[in-house]
Subunit: 223 residues, 2 copies
DNA sequence: CGACACCTTGAAGAGGTTCAAGAAATGTGG
DNA sequence: CCACATTTCTTGAACCTCTTCAAGGTGTCG
């Protein structure tokens, strides 16, 4: 992550990662209430984070892909406040929080990076609130797709093509709507020639049309 | 904030606060796009934070009262991503971020505190997403009122009485609904004897009834 | 191959929005 | 201190978007 360090410093930084952990599809990396020990960086695969209520309802709060950090929610109460579940066979880097704390004392770049990661998450959450608060169904789906391909593109994948790792229900949960509505919006987009939809395989034919729906692209963060 | 420090350390910590700033009612403490210099702690008064879209729509992302921190959104991009506006004549403590960074290197308690503050904000945002994503109008208003009086109570105010500092429109924006709906829900609560509503003066007559509406009290953070 | 989860589509229904009007409170200037 | 303008709040009625319920189709995995 950080740059501009001596070889010795880099060696020390390596100790930040205690190891890797495989998480099979459908398994939780952690669950709400679990003791908080570490932050996790997605190495391979795809995750969702989800908060659940007593009465069984739940809300997907985010999808995480390669390079993204999970577990920040656990710091404040020394326990996690949401579930992190792998949507496909995945692997994460385990970064024990005690070690992060210790190293962040000595290495300014790491400390600054950590603060930015947390701040980025806060800004991302603002974007989700905007989405849930004022957008209608089509805008939400358009924003979701654009955000997804943009993040994939940064990682070297196609800008116009994406395979969804999550179900319609999970998309709907994230966007604050029912799975049927998600499906209908996809169908409408397909009719209008904006996207091609083949189950979970999406091709964006008219990105401009999608962007036009999301006039409200403000503090919409990429993470 | 932190405890268990020597007198000398405490003196240094005092330098964290560069000064105070008065913010008149209706004025912004900062606006989206402003350069990021400092974090702010509310000393007196009441604020809202708000993200705005190009097309003029906006979403209130939070209300801040005494002791709560604003500005964390600015860290990641060195500029703020939302507006912070005083809802009444207010005063904040200005904590230059450069100094926070510097002191947090030396003082573990401060560093830990900062990380918890940021993590708490992330958990709070999860609660708002839950609210916006799955709750219906009455649940949202009930959750809002309970959260508000709970925070006031922690600060030594009544557990059953509160004067709203924000308009119906601002409540609605925060809760993802229209001001008319907020008004109607208040009226319905009043009819049912759950609360007394006199303009912005609210008396909670049946807190249990409110809590029962919010079966979904999970990771609902207090901040 | 069969069971199961996932997706699509239709029709009816509900919750919240929109539009509109009036009342109450707040602020301003004479 | 009062009159007036402005903002805020309440309430009603029509409307609309999304949800709910239901059925059938498609894909997937043991």
């Amino acid at each position: 992550m950080p740059v501009g360090l001596s070889a010795q410093e880099l060696t020390q930084l390596d100790t930040l990662i205690a190891g890797r952990k495989k998480v099979p599809k459908g398994s939780p990396l952690y669950k709400a209430g679990d003791a908080f020990h570490a932050l996790y960086a997605v190495r391979t695969g795809f995750f969702k984070t989800e908060v659940n209520t007593q009465d069984g309802r739940g809300q997907v709060t985010g999808f995480q892909m390669m390079g993204e950090i999970m577990g920040l929610d656990g710091i404040v109460q020394d326990q996690h406040s949401c579930d992190a579940v792998a949507l496909e066979d995945s692997e994460v880097c385990v970064m024990p929080y005690a070690r992060i704390e210790e190293l962040s004392m000595r290495f300014e770049p790491l400390r600054r990076h950590l603060h930015k990661v947390m701040s980025r998450e806060i800004v991302r959450d603002q974007g989700v609130m905007l989405l849930l608060g004022i957008m209608r169904a089509e805008e939400r789906v358009a924003a979701f797709l654009l955000n997804l391909v943009q993040r994939m593109h940064v990682r070297g994948f196609s800008q116009s093509e994406v395979v969804l790792r999550m179900t319609r229900r999970e998309i709907g949960s994230y966007l604050g709507m029912k799975l049927e509505t998600v499906s209908r919006v996809f169908s409408r987009f397909a009719e209008d020639g904006v996207v091609d939809v083949n189950q979970r395989h999406i091709v964006i034919r008219d990105p401009a049309a999608l962007k036009a729906m999301v006039t409200s692209q403000s503090a919409h963060c990429t993470t």
